[in-house]
């Protein structure tokens, strides 16, 4: 292929833009790939044996441009095209896929993303939005002092909303998380010289001896490897090395561990399938793209126990025969990403990562890759495409990741909470692990409680705990309030009414009432909540987050949102029964014919709200 630069932009970017790209790709080795053009250098008509940077560095380079200059400009795209030998149109197509990348000639230096998703709606997002509109400008308009704000899907701070992410470009570039945000907090974060400290995560059960996944939280300094080791860190990897790779897979399978990301696939099966692939470059990927509205569990783990994440991914790599692991983390979690990067560097320095892990001659290392604002990239095959520098569009399955995953190689993808359970299995043994929970669901589950409870936060409880008991753990409802409903499993999950309080939180029991645990989301709505607004927000969410690849989801989510808007306004086309028939038709085609789980679950929550009579009743 011959790279044709865009004639629409005659330049190859400013010095600042080229520096941002060079920081990721390292400086260009010759004038033929974007380096300084001197008559002498141009006399040599070859590429000096230069190998091109891998395409997987495209997203990091685009992120660097966003952070340094606040925009991905035509000149910068031309420079990337030269450096990476990629067509400008394709680079543009990738950049324009992500909500947190601005594409165009220029953009304001400060972007403020205000979460108005299901949980933050309940904790004052509306008021904050009005205040920001008054202080700065209308949504999407730059204020005179260069600030632009937008409403944002869930930022994963649901227990302490309203949440805000400030993206500040330039010399003092920083991504700043603001929680329980007021207008003054946002103004202060924008003006602060460095990234302001984020308050520690809310884990009300800290110190409870029954904790499994959260057992280190509050007892370990997340920035100190020694503290982690004192608390028993790296004992699980030591045990794994004694068991051997097959032994680890056997233990994980015997323990009955199922994935905690939402699909509940048996982890042991997945690992065995990858380990057995003859094609010998294997990868492990930690899916930390937690974006399901209402979910914040993986963020808390990564912020409070990052060494455990690193250790668990090392165990996974050992078990499936991988030498390289990736942690793909959503862009909205800058603190968690920083903690993980620090933990990886410390582990590498102390011989827990690298060419000789724990002196056993094993090679394993980990890269952290950040997303750029796309819920769909939590879908495992979309995640691969995003990591490979392509648009985050899901792939058709089969083939499955266990045979054709990252870079086309056998890949084990696991959610962060799942990986943490592996450490527990190695520490306690499969029998003790399985003794907790229900016969069909072993172990504990993390539950993200938000909304109208007295003590929102992250809770750990055995599978089979009743929904009502879980809400009681969180202090129950505020005095004098009554329960309207609960959103279980996030936007891709479903609403349940007060009758579900006695339902045990285990797969079979939930299936019986048409619900799922999903990613452990429990958003509680009391009688003050505006449920119509919540359902509308979910419909808008799916339209915004559909990748656009397949027709059922691309158009279906648009028609669903239009339909919900009509019902919410009490202005149906024809009768309400006509609208319900239309909705069932939409829901079925999205469920049956969409490529991936996003489209297949996009109608779940609306469906459950209609069944509960919350719309158009």
């Amino acid at each position: 292929m011959e790279t044709s630069l865009s004639a629409g932009a005659a330049d190859i970017g400013t010095a600042e833009e080229r520096a941002a790209v060079d920081e990721i790709l390292s400086p260009p080795p010759s004038p033929w790939v974007g380096g300084e053009r001197s008559p002498r250098a141009l006399h040599v008509a070859r590429r000096d044996g230069t190998t091109l940077p891998p395409r997987s560095l495209l997203l990091p380079a685009l992120r660097a441009l966003e952070s340094r200059v606040g925009v991905v400009s035509p000149g910068a795209v031309n420079y990337l095209a030269v450096r990476m030998d990629l067509p400008p149109a394709e680079i543009y197509g990738v950049a324009a896929f992500y909500a947190l990348l601005d594409v165009g000639e220029a953009a304001p230096p400060v972007k403020v993303h205000v979460c108005d998703d299901v949980a933050c709606q309940l904790s004052g997002a509306g008021g904050l939005i009005a205040a920001l509109r008054e202080r700065y400008a209308d949504e999407g308009e730059a204020s005179l002092d260069g600030v632009q704000w937008h409403r944002s899907p869930c930022l994963g701070q649901c227990d302490r909303g309203p949440a805000v992410l400030v993206q500040r470009a330039g010399a003092h570039a920083a991504d700043i998380e603001v929680v329980a945000a007021t207008r003054e907090d946002v103004v202060r974060a924008i003006a602060a010289p460095g990234p302001s400290p984020t308050p520690p995560a809310v884990v009300p059960q800290v110190g409870d001896p029954s904790l499994v996944v959260l057992r280190h939280v509050g007892r370990v300094d997340p920035t100190d490897l020694d503290s982690y080791r004192t608390a028993g860190g790296y004992e699980s990897l030591r045990r794994a090395l004694q068991l051997g790779p097959e032994g680890v897979v056997d233990w994980v399978a015997d323990a009955g561990l199922a994935g905690r990301g939402g699909a509940a696939f048996p982890t042991g099966w997945k690992w065995r399938a990858v380990a057995n692939q003859a094609d010998r470059t294997h990868y492990v990927v930690a899916n930390a793209d937690e974006s399901e509205p209402g979910t914040f569990k993986d963020r808390v783990i990564m912020e409070e126990d990052p060494f455990a994440v690193v250790e668990a991914l090392t165990v996974a790599g050992y078990a499936v025969g991988a030498e390289q692991g990736y942690i793909y983390i959503r862009a909205e979690y800058p603190l968690a990403a920083a903690r993980l990067r620090h933990a990886i560097a410390a582990a590498r320095q102390r011989g827990f990562l690298g060419d000789d892990v724990m002196g056993r001659g094993l090679r394993f290392d980990i890269d952290v890759r950040q997303g750029a604002g796309a819920y769909i990239c939590g879908e495992e095959t979309a995640l691969f495409n995003s990591l490979e520098g392509r648009r985050g569009e899901p792939r058709n399955k089969p083939p499955f990741p266990t045979t054709h995953g990252l870079f086309g190689k056998p890949t084990a993808v696991n959610n962060i909470e799942t990986l943490m359970n592996v450490l527990a299995i190695l520490e306690f043994g499969p029998a003790r692990f399985r003794a907790v929970g229900t016969p069909d669901a072993a172990g504990t589950r993390l539950f993200c409680l938000s909304g109208a409870v007295a003590r929102p936060g992250l809770y750990e409880a055995p599978f089979g705990t009743r929904l009502g008991a879980l809400i009681d753990m969180a202090g129950g409802l505020m005095p004098g309030r009554t329960l309207q409903g609960v959103l279980l499993g996030g936007a891709a999950g479903s609403f349940v009414g007060p009758t579900a309080l006695d339902t045990p939180l285990a797969p079979a029991d939930l299936k019986a009432i048409g619900a799922t645990l999903g990613s452990g989301v429990v958003v509680v709505f009391d009688d003050t909540a505006n449920l119509t607004g919540t359902v509308l927000r979910i419909a808008r969410f799916f339209r915004d987050e559909s990748c656009g690849q397949c027709v059922p989801c691309r158009v279906g989510t648009v028609r669903q949102e239009e339909l919900v808007a009509r019902l919410a306004a009490g202005r149906p086309h024809g009768t309400v029964a006509d609208e319900l028939r239309l909705f069932r038709d939409l829901a079925q085609v999205m469920r049956d014919a969409s490529i991936c789980g996003l489209g297949q679950t996009a109608a779940n929550a609306v469906d459950s709200a209609l069944r509960l009579g919350w719309l158009g009743g």
Binding site: P74, D102, C547, G556
Partner: protein
Amino acid sequence: MAAVRPMTRTDGAFPERSVRATIDGRAVTVPEGTTILAACRAEGTEVPTLCFLENLAPVNVCRACVVEVEGSRALVPACSRPLEADMVVSTRSERVDHSRRMVLELLASSVDMSLAGPDLERWLEEYGADPARHGPLAPTGADRQARAGRHGSVAGEARATLDQPVTIDNELYVRDYSRCILCYKCVEACGDQAQHTFAIAVAGRGFDAHIATEFDVALPDSACVYCGNCVAVCPTGALMFKSEYDLRQADDWDASRQTVTDTICPYCGVGCTLELHVQDNRIVKVTSPMDHEVTHGHLCVKGRFGFDFVHVPPPGAEDTRR
């Protein structure tokens, strides 16, 4: 029982293994690796397709070809899924018909499909697609400049569409994206499936995803080499030769007055087969047969557009060319 390809191999390779499966209650045997779509077509079973084309790798995005496979939770795209041993496939179950109807209805509710050909018209009728029930057309179409993950408020009174003006930025072909069903064929043909020019890609996300050059610059400012291969693969008339577009605008395009003449391209030694579409003794369009072993339907700018010299008037007559 119909074999899709002859079982006799002349390249010395081992004979292919065959796969037995059931399609619509009938036993079929096909060579391993045959897609469900190919097996159905060999059986004479019609499966509607929009984004599939024989000379491009399947992208399975339109979902018109979905079939039901026993034991599979979701429906399965016939165009890309190989038939597996003992698979039990239904091509006209209730679920299949419902999905096809809705896929066609959703497309027709958002895109102008009036030039998408007789098959599509028939399928809309056969599967009972009713785009009108999604409401009246919204007065304005999709915002191509919309940022990924953001859209304006939705009242739901009228249905959103892709309605937008036709893009005419060169003399050879026009782009009417109000007809685009995002089948990816043009991107594939421009990219590594044929032309390797990579002038266009899919940009944006969701309903606002669209085919674009970098930053939506005009084609003359892009890498486009005007081979016209994107036009040749477009199933809905979103991409159209300017000659055809002008005749249609003048209400003078009439397929019944057209003849197709096969010839060899006069330019280089490759000798591509050209099909000259002629109306009123003027060439109005040039294509190449998709099953041609050299072109696979693809041409270069010269073969595709370099026919003006044919219209040189006889000596003494007035030259009416541009």
